[in-house]
Symmetry: C2
Subunit: 604 residues, 2 copies
């Protein structure tokens, strides 16, 4: 983890007081740290358009360019809109934060749910596209796409659990290589009179749909997957050097220009070279082979694309766990997800993201194209919420020139809302229904968790001053089964905590009990012994019964259980199981304080 922020508007590394400005992002550094997700989407966006259009025959593919130009138009509106978001929210603030502040609880739940869906999809889509890109270069990998994705996922998860720092500088090199590769493909392709090489295997085209408005809308929706991630810069403003807003705006404009140029350039090439889907290779790989041939440049380009896609998947690991911790702080997810242990890593969130992405990849067998119908819906919901929040902001604040600004953001909001509806309508049967079901289900889950925590807060009278606590008499019960240094250790602690201590032992028959009592009296530890009989050899139940009987009255009962702590973790399974069982049953069935005291072994 390290640099990078994400859709939640939280810098991924908390900036500490007194940290120098030198550690903050320049405009170009911001591009590397915050835009890999957006830039890398050229690896699957144009392909997604081609795969939709080809259903109406290869002649329909000529529509790739006009559709891409329409998408670039939407990109322009979004980029300008986000420059305004940056000016208004210089502290960052993704759709969830903006929604919560300006648009109320339900909208913020919608934002949160769509963000969760989208983070998971970003991981899955980026890994699937990365695997496809690598398999384009090395065809022998083609049958193992799912295995490659899961391996990559395990690696990224491990890196994020360890919390290895990555810097914007380290991300710069892959980004530059990636940009050189893509623009190189475009430039050489435009100059060459005919393709340098053809890769992959020809595939028969089955014409299954007529070329009409529905298909064009579907292709547009699929291509909009190329716009995911452009909101990340606006969320990450606090990580920029001063003047922050200006630098972030500059980065946003750079991203828009680069992404738009790449999309249009690749579409022109697709048209010029009459690219059709071929088996075993991506559309981008076909274009690369067409420009560079199949020599070292082909391999280098594909590897650069794979690397940037993997890093794009990695950005979600910076984003979702932070979002989950914000949600848990708002009582909308288990507080578990807000925990950070020794390293500043939300490990439950990281593991949750990895499991969800793995499930998704297995479900679609790592085929990018099956994920595209699910993707971008969530992003466009987020776009709409951000823009709407800004319209509301202009309307209530009314700064100078608020009306044209509100009009711009309003246009953006309407366009992205229409885009979201087009996605759902045109791709419902192909997978969008999953998102249509999941988003409300998540909203309901968040709301139910929130109402649980509210009810608990009421019952605990959080925020009201309770009665003053009073001291009561206490009795400490120490279960014993032998006389040893462990027993002495436990009784020492018990005597320190109460004047009234009783040792309790359980025996299968009276003779054994009498033997033990004799030993006890010989030791004479100054603590009385209660012997319980248990003909069925259960140890737990006689003790639980004893605690329940002792609980009558107002005194505070504590049960003190000594625990042997071996030095090596591998010996743990050999110890303390009985105490653990006893503690679990006592916790479930009595109101006693359960105390455990460690006894550290030195030999093992």
């Amino acid at each position: 983890m390290g640099w990078g922020t994400s859709k939640t508007g939280r810098p991924r590394v908390p900036l500490r007081h007194g940290e120098g400005d030198r550690d903050h992002l320049t405009s170009f550094g911001g591009l590397a740290a915050l835009s890999l997700d957006a830039l890398s989407s050229v690896a699957y966006g144009p392909e997604a358009i081609v795969l939709v259009l080809v259903a109406a025959g290869s002649s329909a593919l000529r529509l790739t360019l006009p559709i891409t130009i329409a998408i670039t138009g939407l990109l322009t509106v979004l980029v300008v809109s986000y420059c305004q978001v940056i000016a208004v929210h210089p502290d960052g603030g993704g759709a969830y934060a903006v929604g919560k502040k300006d648009l109320g609880a339900t909208v913020s739940l919608l934002a949160a749910a769509s963000l969760v869906v989208d983070y998971v999809l970003t991981v899955a889509v980026s890994l699937a596209a990365g695997a496809a890109s690598l398999a384009s270069a090395f065809p022998s990998l083609a049958p193992h796409l799912l295995a490659m994705c899961l391996t990559g996922l395990v690696l990224i998860t491990a890196v994020n659990l360890w919390g290895i720092a990555e810097s914007a500088r380290a991300l710069m090199l892959p980004m530059v290589l990636f940009l050189i590769a893509i623009f190189g493909v475009i430039a050489v392709g435009l100059v060459r009179s005919h393709p340098a090489a053809l890769v992959g295997t020809a595939q028969p085209i089955h014409i299954s749909e007529a070329l009409g408005v529905v298909l064009i809308l579907k292709a547009f929706a699929a291509g909009c997957s190329a716009l995911t991630g452009i909101e990340a810069i606006a969320n990450g403003v606090p990580t920029f050097r001063e003047p922050r807003a200006r630098r972030a705006q500059r980065t946003e404009l750079m991203l828009g220009a680069l992404l738009g140029a790449m999309l249009v350039g690749l579409s022109v090439l697709i048209r010029r070279e009459h690219v059709e889907p071929r088996g075993g290779v991506t559309v981008l790989a076909q274009l690369t082979a067409g420009s560079f041939g199949t020599g070292w440049a082909y391999y280098a380009s594909n590897i650069a694309v794979t690397l940037v896609l993997a890093l794009a998947a990695n950005t979600s690991f910076g984003g979702l766990p932070v979002l989950m911790s914000l949600l848990s702080k708002d009582n909308r997810l288990p507080h578990l997800f807000g925990l950070r242990s020794e390293r500043p890593v939300h490990r439950y969130g990281v593991v949750a993201l990895a499991l969800l992405a793995a499930g998704l990849l297995v479900a679609v067998d790592a085929v990018t194209d099956r994920l595209i119908p699910l993707y971008a819906i969530g992003v466009f919901i987020g776009f709409t919420i951000s823009q709407t929040g800004l319209v509301r902001h202009w309307y209530t604040q009314r700064p100078p020139r608020w009306l044209p600004r509100a009009a711009l953001n309003g246009t953006g909001a309407v366009l992205t809302a229409i885009a979201a509806l087009v996605f759902v309508a045109s791709k419902f049967a192909e997978g969008a229904w999953v998102v249509v079901l999941t988003v409300p289900a998540l909203m309901l889950l968040f709301a139910r968790i929130e109402s649980y925590y509210r009810a608990v807060g009421l019952e605990l009278e959080l925020g009201r001053l309770p009665e003053r606590p009073l001291a009561a008499r206490s009795l400490v019960i120490v279960p014993v089964n032998s006389i040893s240094r462990l027993t002495e250790h436990a009784l020492h602690a018990a005597l320190s905590l109460s004047d009234d201590v009783v040792a309790v032992s359980v025996h299968p028959d009276p003779e054994q009990g009498a033997d033990f009592r004799a030993q006890w009296e010989q030791w004479n530890p100054g603590v009385r012994l209660e012997s319980l009989e248990s003909p069925h050899r259960s140890l737990v139940h006689p003790i639980v019964g004893y605690v329940e009987r002792a609980q009558q009255g107002d005194r505070q009962i504590a049960v003190l259980i000594p625990e042997v702590q071996p030095r090596h973790w591998r010996y743990r399974i050999l110890q303390n199981q009985r105490g653990l069982l006893l503690a679990t049953v006592l916790r479930a069935s009595t109101d006693a304080v359960i105390c455990t005291i460690p006894y550290r072994l030195t030999s093992r």
Copy 2:
């Protein structure tokens, strides 16, 4: 669970004081309760011989009968030997108990390891053979043998975890049906002049081995899988009615007679009807069809065989968990396996057995024939140990007529030892190597666990009287993060346990700390508050640091963590994770007493 004892020599239901003799086993009841494992092995024993011999061509199958007669001879020696075991060890005592008493630690470890292997194999072989038997009757099940085995395993495991009582009487009916079916097959088959029906599909015979001594020894070894389980009666003597030893001996002789008669009868039929292995059906099913045709009697017979095999698998669930608890009592397995909670079930042992058997079934894809080479080695090691122990017993005790008795047991020991060696040598490459590796590995594991517990016992000075425990001053630390009824509840308990209580709160910045302090002073609970600052929002580390600093000096530190207990278990994940994390880290890094106090919610 209920009746039945097993190779460990422990009755499966502990007999309570004052229990009437009526609840004990008659000779015939003992057959149902203790012999299903042995009797059911006719379902796979003769088939195992046929499958080995057929490798030398169908003419080699005529050797089935002489090999079966040799096995029956060994059966006779074993039965007579075990009648002596019953007389000498009327308290039961499987190979592990006998080995420990008479032959020392190493031999008892060998016995334990081979018993563990065998219990697991009994479950796997019985389930695999049961599935094959059911699939013989219903060919549509044939592709799903593994699924059938695992389903059966889950059912048996569930029954054993619930601890549903089974009685000898309930086992009587399936046993009688089974005996009627098998003897019916034999009787009708001997009377008919030609087979009533042919089932299954013909399979080509690939001659891959020459008929020689090695193949005959292999077939003998495979057929000895039919002798597994005959030691169970000797282990279960205490469950018989008085006169126990006499009744048990009578049962042992009945078992020997029935098993011998079934084995020889089935072999005669195999020869008479020129049975060869056929696809989709077991050898026993072929004989059944040959005698009864393929009408209702065929289905009824196969179902009876399946049922008895499932019950045979179930007997291991009575045996292995008890053996594991004996081992854990001898410090040779984690004490975990000695635990019994509410029900008298060793649930860890039951689960361990289920997992091991499932792993084995998956590894061999539920094919009985692949398990046979592993099976019976363990049993014959156990036979050898029991006999050798008895020889030693005769030699040291020297009762009247000890010499012929010792000679008999000595013959048994030598024969079974030779058989065990023949198994290992003839089937090493086909799977016996697994047992050859597993048995010493288990012995090593037991020995290492034993030496761990011994070292711990030394360090804890078990058996010596330690110093008398002295009371010390105490300090109870209560981590707080809000003021609520939960806080009051925790402070009440803390004040009851010590005069010196301190509340500790952690804040990300000083302002928040000052706010909380003001609230605290307004409440004025009579407990001082320490505010710790944690700019990195870690809650655990500041508290651990505070506890470590407080620990200087000789006073006893306790940390009291309140836990919210929701009424419904589904809400558990929403609570207490922070406390759990704190407790875990404190337990690992400080010597403080860790106390938890439940606060039971009434609303959720």
